[in-house]
């Protein structure tokens, strides 16, 4: 199977308009004023998607779809948000949020929102898409997401007798192409998430209609690159551990395709400290290594114990960490592509995260309307610190890099 940027744009546009439909339904049903914050087309590992759901204590409504395209959609929300939704849908039912009446309300909400989400895809394909009845699933740390993203030989999860076998949603044994939408309401930060996981055949169907064959890249190239990102994050994590003496792990590592203007919204509005660097070569772009303020202090403490009174040196230490993490992250790409990626000296930043990336995005927006966003998170097991890595390569140059990874696509 091949993918091309034109298809990715179509995926993104359809997912976004579908999410807007869903947000409209949510507002009509509950009175919450909802809007679509972010729409991402994501090449993720199965483990990352699973982890994201597990760690967030999400409740969700699942719907399968079949016909012109097949797969699964999931409407997920925080447990607290579920209670407020139940209150809005069935006044009084939140006293017992696990009651049949309460879960029935949530299932119907999911049915309407996800149904609206799917409609746009059917219209685009000029064909019909049937949806299954909704299934309410509580995800906790003890459950895997097999019923969402599928596993070889493992049928759907609990109470999913009318949900299609989801094993076909995987691109290969490790990766999944996911459409991820974040909806938020005006009054509260807690959001809603809509995932759509089409089968590989369905992705091919849409690519056939929307794609540009001349521009196509084998999907294996995307997964290879996704693997390179994971390995780069792993190297960065090792370097962080070597520098600080604190064990770290890669929490998340993702490649996604987003509208350029949506990139800042993907980042938090909380304060972050760290560095921004520019890289040039094939590909060129920007990278930001960001710590929350407490993590930045923890890292500086680990690097320079007993030097709390020297802020300039602590800042320098953070810059150097950023420099080393960036090299760890990018060197693997350069070596795999048999090229050189030049890295600029690190520029120290201290601002809200979205404001830090805003000027980088403005620069990219001069030449492209969509961006490949690479984001990884490195954390210590005890959460002494977390480090977020965001890379924004030039879209055309990254495509050139993809071509180098897969010369047979030319």
């Amino acid at each position: 199977m091949n993918l091309d940027v034109q298809s990715l744009r179509t995926f993104s546009r359809l997912a976004h308009s579908g999410a807007e439909e869903a947000a409209g339904s949510l507002s009509t049903l509950t009175g919450f004023d909802a809007r679509v914050a972010v729409t991402k087309v994501e090449m993720a590992t199965r483990a990352d998607v699973e982890r994201e759901f597990r760690e967030r204590d999400l409740v969700s409504v699942h719907i399968g779809f079949s016909g012109a395209i097949e797969g699964h959609t999931v409407l997920a929300f925080d447990r607290e948000r579920a209670v407020s939704l139940v209150d809005a849908l069935v006044p009084g039912a939140s006293d017992d949020p696990d009651s049949d009446l309460a879960t029935s309300g949530l299932k119907e909400l999911g049915n309407i929102m996800l149904g609206g989400f799917i409609d746009g895809w059917a219209d685009f394909l000029g064909d019909s898409i049937d949806i299954t009845t909704p299934t309410y699933v509580e995800l906790d740390a003890g459950r895997s997401l097999q019923d969402v993203i599928g596993a070889e030989g493992v049928p759907g999860g609990a109470a999913d007798t009318d949900v299609p076998d989801p094993s076909g949603t995987t691109i290969d044994s490790d990766h999944v192409l996911a459409f991820r939408n974040h909806l938020e309401t005006v009054d509260e930060e807690a959001g809603f998430y809509i995932y759509m996981l089409p089968t590989q055949e369905s992705v091919e169907t849409i690519v056939d209609v929307a794609g540009n064959a001349e521009d196509a890249i084998p999907v294996e190239t995307f997964t290879s690159f996704s693997q390179m990102i994971s390995e780069g994050a792993g190297q960065a994590s090792e370097d962080l551990t070597a520098m600080t003496g604190i064990d770290t792990n890669v929490d998340v590592s993702r490649l996604s395709f987003v509208p350029v203007e949506g990139v800042p919204m993907e980042l938090t509005d909380d304060a972050r400290r760290g560095v921004v660097l520019e890289f040039s070569g094939t590909p060129s772009g920007y990278i930001a290594i960001l710590f929350d303020p407490e993590s930045a202090e923890s890292v500086a403490d680990a690097l320079m114990p007993g030097m709390e009174s020297d802020p300039a040196m602590r800042k320098s230490a953070l810059q150097e960490i950023g420099n080393i993490v960036t090299s760890g992250f990018l060197d693997g790409w350069a070596n795999a592509l048999e090229t050189t990626i030049e890295i600029s000296p690190p520029r120290y930043v201290d601002d809200i995260a979205s404001a830090i990336v805003d000027p980088l995005v403005t620069e990219l927006a001069r030449t492209q309307d969509y961006a490949f966003l690479i984001d990884s998170a490195i954390a210590t097991p005890d959460e002494t610190f977390t480090c977020d890595i965001y890379a924004l390569p030039d879209e055309r140059e990254l495509r050139a890099a993809f071509d180098q990874l897969a010369p047979e696509a030319n």
């Binding site: 370097d239 070597a242 520098m243 690097l303 320079m304 300039a312 040196m313 320098s316 230490a317 810059q319 150097e320 420099n323 080393i324 960036t326 090299s327 760890g328 990018l330 060197d331 350069a334 070596n335 048999e338 090229t339 050189t340 990626i341 030049e342 890295i343 600029s344 000296p345």
Partner: protein
Amino acid sequence: MARSVLVVDDSAFMRNLLKQLLEDDHEVVGEAENGVEAVELYRELDPDVVTMDVVMPIRNGIEATSEIKSIDPDSSVIMCTSVGQEEKMREAVEAGADGYITKPFQKPNVLEAIDDVVGVEA
């Protein structure tokens, strides 16, 4: 035997760290934070060894190494850099670097690299 070392890095933190790693075994005779300063201090101090960062403002470590080698072909320059790209390592070798160690490094790596390029004994 203690060697005189010129430490070149745009990061004050990294210069400080290298000084701490070297203080028991060698003498840091100078610090430079870019390639231009590195060349000037090399002429002035004539150190036994230069530890040279690669990515620096004004003039990078590859260019500075090349210039130091043109001034003194017998100079000993160790690239101390976070860049682990094979192409970059080749560039460093072509510029005349005698050793190459990748950050983050530990004290034994740095001391071993110095021994490798200037010898354990005088």
